[in-house]
């Protein structure tokens, strides 16, 4: 039915309407002046830039509303650069819009598809030239070439082998051993239970073996949070309870989800929160995940006291710390 209906027809390009500047020389002159003023503003901007580079002291700050403490030189350099570029642009656009010919022109499009004969010729040429190489006949060359090209693709993989060592057991181990003292971070002081008030939280690291240095790789696996609650606050099984000491409990600070530092401790609720993805762990229940995307509790570090009364690890972590990986067995 719709075929019988007459569609609207294309009225063609509307008639061109002249701008004021096209017909009125005074308006054109005015537009020219406006363009010149815009270029002049750009020049002023460059002068501001050069002047502030030379004459403004680099360490001068002022307080500006909204922006806060602002370095005067950096701000003036920026404003100068902004003016010098912005007004060149405005001048060019204004020039283009007011004074350059604004009659739209029409250009024809051509279909991209080549004529049938060209396409056929192309296929024929490829076939013909290909036949010259004789690949179709010389299967020995074809096969050996395939092998050679395939093998050469392996060489970058081989050459890149040394970009890193194999993981071996590195993801599964930390510096904590049975008897390693807990030391403050920063400060590296050993800790006695009396140093921690109930409700206190401290970041600790394993004591350095003399002659070694602490690397960020160590910190990334060894960081531990020490938290002191009242012993009756715990809701732990007998084994985990035996890993605490007089209300003091220790967890890996490296999130079991994606490895961020689980740094936010909420004293009222006794929850640990990771600021990256808001995984929340209940300290009283062995860091059980109570919210967020983490799938496993934070590994707990078993604590005890050494002969001098300092807090030490009773044993290494019983599971890998940090995010999951394929070889992780639990």
């Amino acid at each position: 039915m719709s075929n019988e209906l007459q569609k609207f027809s294309d009225p063609g390009l509307p008639e061109h309407i002249h701008r004021k500047a096209d017909t009125d020389p005074a308006a054109a002159k005015k537009a020219e002046r406006q363009v010149a003023i815009l270029f002049a503003l750009s020049a002023i901007g460059t002068i501001v830039l050069i002047g502030s580079y030379i004459f403004v002291k680099p360490n001068k700050f002022v307080f500006l509303p909204i922006m806060g403490d602002t370095n005067v030189q950096q701000a003036l350099l920026g404003v100068g650069l902004a003016m010098s570029t912005f007004f060149i642009g405005m001048a060019a656009v204004h020039w283009g819009k007011t004074l350059m010919d604004d009659r739209e022109v029409v250009a024809e499009r051509h279909e991209f598809r080549s004529p049938e004969s060209d396409r056929a010729d192309f296929v024929a040429t490829v076939k013909e030239q290909g036949a010259m190489a004789g690949l179709g006949r010389r299967t020995l060359i074809k096969r050996s070439m395939g092998v050679a090209l395939g093998l050469v693709g392996l060489s970058p993989l081989v050459l890149l082998r040394d970009i890193g060592p194999l993981p071996k057991k590195q993801l599964e181990t930390t510096s904590w051993k049975a008897g390693t003292r807990l030391v403050t971070d920063p400060g590296d002081r050993p800790i006695k239970p009396a140093d921690l008030e109930v409700g206190a939280v401290a970041q600790v690291l394993p004591e350095l073996i003399p002659g070694t240095e602490r690397t960020l790789e160590n910190v990334g696996k060894d960081a531990v949070l020490l938290i002191r609650l009242r012993p009756e606050d715990f809701n732990l099984n007998a084994e985990r309870l035996s890993w605490t000491h007089d209300g003091i409990i220790a967890f890996s600070k490296i999130c079991s989800h994606m490895g961020c530092a689980v740094a936010l401790y909420e004293q009222q609720t006794k929850h640990l929160l990771c600021p990256c993805h808001q995984s929340t762990f209940d300290v009283t229940r062995a860091a059980k995940v109570i919210f967020g995307p983490a799938a496993r509790p934070l590994p707990q570090l078993a604590l005890t006291l050494d002969a001098d009364g300092y807090l030490v690890a009773k044993q290494p972590f019983t599971e890998p710390v940090g995010p999951s990986f394929w070889e992780r067995s639990s």
Binding site: S84, I88, A261, G292
Partner: protein, 531 residues
């Protein structure tokens, strides 16, 4: 009057042409026609911010030290005096506090990067909603999808370079994603970081990728992207005198050059102004990176936010079996979902042409309302991304609007599945309503606002007919008809059967759900009937 200036110009042109034969090509291309529309500037903004990124980035490389060597800071920023840190972080402080214009260039670079990604995304939306990706422009669509993907990576690497506490945390998360890949994850992570995280080689490595490898690929892809635009000629919006066979606009020289060239300077000026007055990424406040610390409210740049939001709302699922672990809570939001989204986006032009069976060239753009299903699909995808993005800022939203993180997470978890389909239905309805409004406008004219009291006391509003130009613009498009699938064709060849054919038939049918475009015949009949 042939002035000496003209003679010099003629001589120079002659000299060049003698050696290149460029005169013919240049003559043709200097008068090349470019259609004018504000939405065609979006891609330009992306291009110009890329140039600004190259310029400001080169400036930064003169002082940036891409190294994780430990140094003790001795520069002029007093709060961090004598603090041990990486050379990368120290040199970023040096650029920010001891190089005149250094902080400005850092901020211009960062603002330009945000603008680059924003312009790419909005340009992509424009191309999607107007159907500019249709034949013959599928290659350019694919290049565009490649550019937006690489842009996300390039931006992430860029803000990771200063090695501050915030960006180091981002790298830690990237490492966890690598590590979560089944079978090879630990190996990939150890290879990328040259050993255990964080190591000492990652910053120098991503520096090379950030300033050489990816910009090189960008330059190549952008060049092909623009050459194709040039060669295929720009699309144009429908209107009087505009057809599939022509292109209507301004010649390259001088109008388009003045406008587009001027626009580069305008974009530069705005970016420089932002760099001057709007502080961004004040890394001196975060401190140097150490894996044992973190700052609250950790947020990635906006184009990463939706990925972070997906990760945040993911349920805590891991599989432990046969001595191995698979972290679905990382793999699904971090790799699988984005992979599906971007693959779907890349394939969309081919899927659409498969559904419509339309293999013709298209140079006239669609008005989004005239292609309701595509428009609705676009809004649906945007809704999905927006919900994810909201959850990416859940901590900030929670503190600013006094909401609980729990509520926001459940809203976004449920919303991620329910709101996109709702958005689809609503968008489709709006499109059809707009089609109906167009039809009314064409057939009954526009409301003049003049009320007339008839002799019988009835009030009527006078409608004025719209112009022939407007009527043409509103009615020039074709409406798809449902493909007759499922029946034998005229040669007696039975139609394809099976799920694929049924799916195609169903979608083709959905595409055909349109409000009938008004015709001149109808308009004339109504005119006759009315008066």
């Amino acid at each position: 009057m042939s002035s000496s200036k003209e003679r010099v110009a003629g001589n120079v042109a002659g000299y060049v042409d003698d050696r290149t034969g460029a005169a013919k090509w240049l003559k043709k291309n200097l008068t090349k026609v470019f259609p004018d529309h504000w939405s065609f500037m979006l891609g330009e903004i992306a291009l110009y911010s890329f140039i600004i990124l190259l310029l400001s980035g080169v400036f930064l490389t003169f002082w940036f030290v891409p190294s994780q060597q430990d140094v003790i800071y001795t520069g002029s920023y007093a709060p961090l005096s004598n603090v041990p840190m990486s050379a990368a972080y120290a040199s970023t402080l040096h650029i920010s506090f001891d190089i005149r214009g250094g902080l400005l260039m850092r901020q211009i670079h960062h603002w330009a990067a945000l603008l680059f990604m924003a312009a790419i995304v909005v340009h992509l939306l424009r191309v999607f909603f107007t159907g500019a990706f249709r034949k013959p422009r599928e290659f350019n669509w694919l290049i565009g999808v490649g550019l937006v993907t690489l842009g996300i990576v390039e931006g992430f690497l860029g803000y990771s370079l200063p090695d501050d506490l915030l960006s180091g945390t981002g790298i830690r998360i990237a490492e966890a994603i690598l590590q979560a890949i089944p079978v090879v994850g630990s190996y990939l992570a150890f290879f990328a970081f040259g050993g255990a995280f964080p190591g000492h080689v990652f910053i120098p490595r991503i520096f090379m990728v950030h300033i050489l490898l990816l910009p090189g690929i960008f330059l190549a892809l952008i060049t092909i992207h623009l050459m194709l635009v040039w060669y295929q000629k720009h699309t144009q919006y429908p209107g009087p005198g505009r057809t599939e066979k022509n292109v209507v606009g301004y010649p390259l020289m001088p109008v388009y050059m003045a406008k587009a060239g001027g626009f580069f300077f305008i974009v530069f000026g705005i970016t420089a102004f932002l760099g001057a007055v709007a502080s961004i990424n004040p890394i001196w406040l975060y401190g140097p990176y150490t894996p044992g610390q973190i700052s609250a409210g950790s947020q990635p740049d906006w184009y990463m936010g939706w990925l972070d939001g997906l990760v945040r709302m993911s349920p805590p699922i891991e599989t432990h079996a046969f001595g191995h672990t698979i972290s679905w809570n990382i793999l699904i939001p971090g790799l699988i979902l984005p992979g599906i989204l971007f693959t779907g986006m890349a394939l969309y032009p081919f899927i659409e042409s498969w559904i419509t069976g339309d293999k013709r060239e298209h140079h006239l753009l669609d008005r989004p309302r005239n292609v309701p299903n595509r428009t609705a699909l676009g809004v649906m995808s945007l809704t999905f991304i927006m919900i994810s993005l909201i959850n990416g800022g859940n901590d900030i939203i929670a503190t600013h609007f006094h909401l609980t993180i729990n509520d926001i997470m459940w809203f976004t978890r449920i919303g991620l599945f329910t709101l996109p389909p709702i958005a689809f239905v609503i968008t489709k309805r709006i499109c059809l309503s707009l089609q109906r409004a167009d039809r009314d406008l064409v057939l009954h004219g526009k409301e003049s606002g003049r009320l007339v009291m008839m002799a019988n006391g009835e009030f009527v509003e006078i409608h004025e007919p719209i112009s022939a130009e407007k009527a043409w613009t509103l009615t020039q498009h074709e409406q798809p008809e449902a493909l007759a699938l499922g029946t034998a064709d005229s040669n007696g060849i039975p139609a394809a059967k099976g799920l694929k054919a049924k799916l195609r038939a169903r979608m083709s049918q959905a595409n055909a759900e349109q409000i009938q475009t008004p015709t001149e015949t109808e308009a004339k009949e109504l005119e006759g009937g009315h008066h």
